[in-house]
Amino acid sequence: MGHAHSTGFLRDIPGRAPWSSHGFRPWLVAVGVAWVLVAVPCLRAQSSKPTDYDVKAAYLYNFGHFVEWPANVASAQNDSFTVCVLGQDPFGPVLDATLAGETIARKKVAAKRISTLQESGDCQILFLSSAEEARLDNVVKALNKQAVLTVSDMPQFSQRGGMIQFVLEGKKVRFEVNLAAVQRAGLTLSSELLKVATTVRRNAPSGD
């Protein structure tokens, strides 16, 4: 029951196609060996069992479908839907692979790694890795009333003013929602999302 991935999510993984190609040339063999050295762990992880971050990356993308951003927000007026990773990037290429070619609300989805909050101007979703716990309060404060969906897997995130917090339930990746924070930011969350959330915090005392 823990397999959250559908085949569809995996079908565009690069490097699969060459296995099916024909012809062996010495340089191609060399390049292939080099690629294998780098790619195999990744492939192995994906093909056998998706890692938490595989799931989380997919979740990030999915969240985009269940959240409505105010139309007047500048970021919303952009051509693309940007998923930003602030600070340390736990996803690696997974996120890019997940988002590649996807669209949300007819906008191309793109991943953007930022280091400072100033760079988050055009972000619709901002992921904050658990390594950035120190910057949490700043982020929460800075993005208060900004139409940016904040997501993190650090503990206490939703209690501390974050909007969606990944939690592990056994081996399954779940999430909690701080609805007050979401509503404060002017975002609308689909009830569907709330339905599958482990916890929905409506009046976060830590907010104001």
């Binding site: 559908s6 799931v55 999915n62 999302l193 339905k195």
Partner: protein, 780 residues
């Protein structure tokens, strides 16, 4: 019958109605049910599809965020639909994600395969409907929902449909029944009435009945109208037919009446014809009688005259008497011939055929012919070349032969020759009569056998002959199965030849020829009774004497006194007494005679012009005759009272109603020496026969009152008279049975024709033997 018909019509109508509505209803229900089931299935599929879509939509987040619990919670909402038995959500790679079982958890089905390019697919299978639908999120297939619904809804629906259909069916059947009842009344009632009308019409043959018209204008009313119209036509035709029949009947009746009247007329005419035939026969019979009787007198008296018994005749008188004789003989022959031919023509001539020899019959004919031939000095020769008997009527045979011979004698000149030849030819016996006379011209030969034909050229030579002889001869020959022919050469002679069938044997010898011995005439009157005639007038006495003197001796007295005197002396056998006499009336004499013992027994017959019959009889008269009296009456009266003297039976009793015949007979027989007594009626004859014995009776057949046949009957009925010879003479044409009777009961039969007196004398001589002569001398 009618009821069944009626029932079958209404039943048929009802059945039809029900059937039609049932079929329509079933069809409609079937179609609607099929359509409804079909759309229900579509709806079921659509509903299921919608449900699947809703489930998909509501579980897509659970799928996306890997939350089966949430999905199961969503699935639990399916509980509301009791027909959903099972639902399953599969992840995008076909792994079961969340499930729902209505009753209990059961096996999880493998993920269904939806054909590529389709979002969903469904299967009706094994009592359920399964539907699989892809869960698409943002254009990407995210998972699959599989829902299974039982078909309970459909079954329920079908059940409720069945109930509804049944209810509607029954209801509509009921309605159909009711409506058919109603319409039936409109259809079958007129039909029934029509049938009833038709039945009545056919039963009562009353074509004036009309079927009742129904109110509505439909085919039935048209039918009724047509029926009525037909009835009208039938009635019309019936009437016409009846008229025609009546007319026919009337015509038949008319015809029948006409026929009946025609029949009546016919019957009347038939009776007329019968009467006419009868009259003709009667006429023939009376003709023969009435014509022959006077002729008989003529012939008889002229014969007597010619014999000069009544006195000498001078030559002139002799010649005249001969003329009378010849003329009357010719007339008699003519009458006989005419009667013969009439009888032949009428088929009344009967033949008593028998076999006999020609040589037996020939002499009788020749004895008649010889005098004629001898008168002309004609030599008659005969040549008999056969002994074969001939089969014919003997009398007719003789007639044939006589006719031919007399014909030959007539046409043969004096000194001529006649030859008779008898021969046999085949099965016939032939006879030819040949003469050497004047002959017959060839052109005349054909007609000589026709009636009333006499050869013209011979007129002068033949002054007698009826012209019927040969015609009769020819018919007699032909009717007896023979042929007659003629060959002749003028100037040299003629030969008549006839043939008759040959007989088998001669049946009997010819009757013995009467002996020709004539009784000697004695003329003695001594044996006669004595009559005393008493009358004062001489003429009266002579008249009475002339009446009586042939039979009686007569004495006269001129007065009563003389009468008493003479009666006492003469003792007469009878007295005729006149009453009106001068000097003593006859009555006194009568009384005196009666008182006187000697004369008391003498019968006294009063002959007077005084009509005092009662007185006369009272005074003892035997009879009373009133002048003028006729001879026969007087004789009869005297005969009644004068007893037969001794046993003299030599008298011959003559019975004939015709006085002239009697007189002639008396004359003939007396001249032959016989005593006779004459009576004029059969009854009188019987009286005489009962009072005295006679030697023979000469009897006429046709008499008023009792006729000859009755007399014969009475005579033969008495034992004492059984042997009395009776000789019958008649002018009557006799029938066959009469001839038979007469030949059995009587001794001789004479036809009063021709010169039969000689034959009579001969026959009398035969039956009255010489007794008379022995007796004749006896008296006084």
């Amino acid at each position: 019958m009618l009821k069944v018909q009626h029932h079958s019509i209404s039943k048929t109508l009802t059945l039809m109605n029900m059937l039609v509505s049932s079929v329509a209803l079933l069809l409609a229900c079937g179609v609607f049910c099929a359509y409804d089931l079909y759309s229900f299935r579509l709806a079921l599929v659509r509903n299921l599809s919608i449900q699947a879509q809703i489930i998909g939509d509501n579980t897509v987040s659970a799928l996306l965020f890997n939350d089966p619990h949430s999905a199961e919670k969503t699935l639990l909402a399916l509980n509301a639909n009791q027909h959903l038995v099972y639902a399953q959500i599969y992840t995008g790679d076909g792994q079961p994600f969340a499930g729902y079982w209505r009753d209990r958890a059961s096996e999880t089905q493998r993920a269904p395969v939806i054909p590529s390019g389709q979002v969903q697919d469904h299967w009706f299978r094994a009592g359920h409907l399964g539907l699989a639908r892809s869960i698409i999120f943002e254009g990407k297939p995210t998972g699959t929902v599989y829902i299974r619904s039982d078909l309970g809804a459909m079954t329920d629906r079908m059940k409720s449909y069945a109930v509804i259909v049944a209810v509607v069916f029954l209801a509509s059947l009921l309605v159909a029944l009711l409506t058919s009842r109603i319409f039936q009344r409109r259809i079958s009632k007129p039909v029934t009435e029509l049938a009833e009308t038709a039945r009545i019409v056919s039963r009562e043959k009353d074509y004036s009945i009309r079927a009742v018209l129904t109110g509505s204008q439909d085919e039935l009313s048209t039918l009724v109208e047509s029926f009525n119209e037909m009835l009208g036509q039938i009635q019309e035709r019936d009437g016409a037919l009846r008229e025609a029949r009546d007319e026919l009947e009337q015509r038949v009746q008319e015809r029948t009446t006409q026929l009946a009247s025609a029949n009546k007329t016919l019957a009347l005419q038939n009776r007329e014809v019968e009467r006419a035939t009868h009259l003709k026969s009667k006429f023939l019979a009376s003709m023969s009688h009435e014509l022959r009787t006077p002729l008989n007198a003529i012939v008889g008296f002229s014969d007597l005259l010619a014999e000069q018994t009544a006195g000498e005749l001078n030559d002139k008188q002799k010649r005249f008497v001969n003329h009378i004789k010849q003329g009357s003989a010719h007339l008699l022959q003519l009458i006989n011939d005419i009667l013969d031919i009439s009888k032949i023509e009428a088929g009344q001539l009967e033949y008593r055929c028998e076999s006999f020899l020609v040589k037996e019959a020939l002499p009788e004919v020749l004895s008649t012919i010889h005098p004629l031939a001898m008168a002309k000095n004609i030599d008659v020769q005969q040549k008999l070349r056969t002994d074969r008997p001939v089969y014919a009527d003997r009398v007719r045979f003789k007639q044939i032969l006589y006719n031919l011979l007399s014909n030959a004698v007539k046409f043969t000149p004096k000194g001529g020759r006649i030859e008779i030849d008898c021969f046999e030819s085949a099965d016939q016996v032939g006879l030819s009569v040949t003469d050497n006379g004047i002959g017959i011209r060839p052109e005349d030969q054909k007609v000589v056998f026709e009636e009333f034909r006499q050869v013209e050229g011979n007129r002068a030579a033949v002054n007698e002959g009826t012209g019927l002889g040969l015609a009769i001869t020819k018919r007699l020959v032909q009717q007896q199965g023979g042929k007659i022919s003629l060959s002749s050469e003028p100037g040299k002679g003629s030969r008549f030849t006839f043939t008759l069938p040959a007989g088998t044997e001669a049946s009997r010898p010819a009757p013995a020829k009467p002996s020709a011995s004539f009784p000697a005439t004695t003329g003695s009157n001594s044996g006669k009774p004595l009559i005393l005639v008493v009358d004062d007038e001489t003429s009266a006495r002579e008249l009475l004497a002339s009446y009586l003197n042939s039979e009686y001796r007569i004495a006269f007295a001129e007065s009563g006194v003389e009468a008493v005197e003479k009666a006492g002396q003469l003792r007469p056998d009878a007295i005729t007494l006149d009453l009106a006499m001068p000097g003593g009336s006859g009555l006194e004499a009568l009384v005196t005679l009666r008182k006187t013992p000697e004369t008391a027994n003498i019968p006294i017959i009063i002959v007077s012009i005084v009509d005092e019959e009662k007185v006369g009889f009272a005074l003892g008269a035997a009879d009373y005759l009133i002048k003028p009296i006729r001879k026969t009456v007087l004789l009869e009266a005297i005969r009644k009272h004068v007893p037969i003297q001794g046993d003299d039976d030599s008298e011959i009793l003559l019975v004939d109603d015709d006085p002239r015949s009697l007189e002639m007979l008396e004359e003939t027989l007396r001249s032959a020496g016989y005593e006779t007594q004459s009576v004029q009626s059969g009854a009188r004859a019987l009286e005489v026969l009962s009072s005295k014995v006679v030697s023979a009776v000469l009897l006429d057949l046709l008499m008023p009152g009792m006729d000859g046949f009755e007399v014969i009957q009475h005579v033969r009925g008495q034992a004492t008279l059984a042997d009395l010879p009776i000789l019958v003479m008649t002018a009557k044409t006799l029938a066959q049975e009469e001839i038979v009777l007469l030949s059995r009961e009587t001794q001789a039969l004479f036809q009063k024709s021709g010169s039969w007196q000689q034959q009579l004398v001969a026959e009398v001589g035969r039956v009255v033997p010489s007794r008379k002569r022995a007796k004749s001398a006896g008296q006084q």
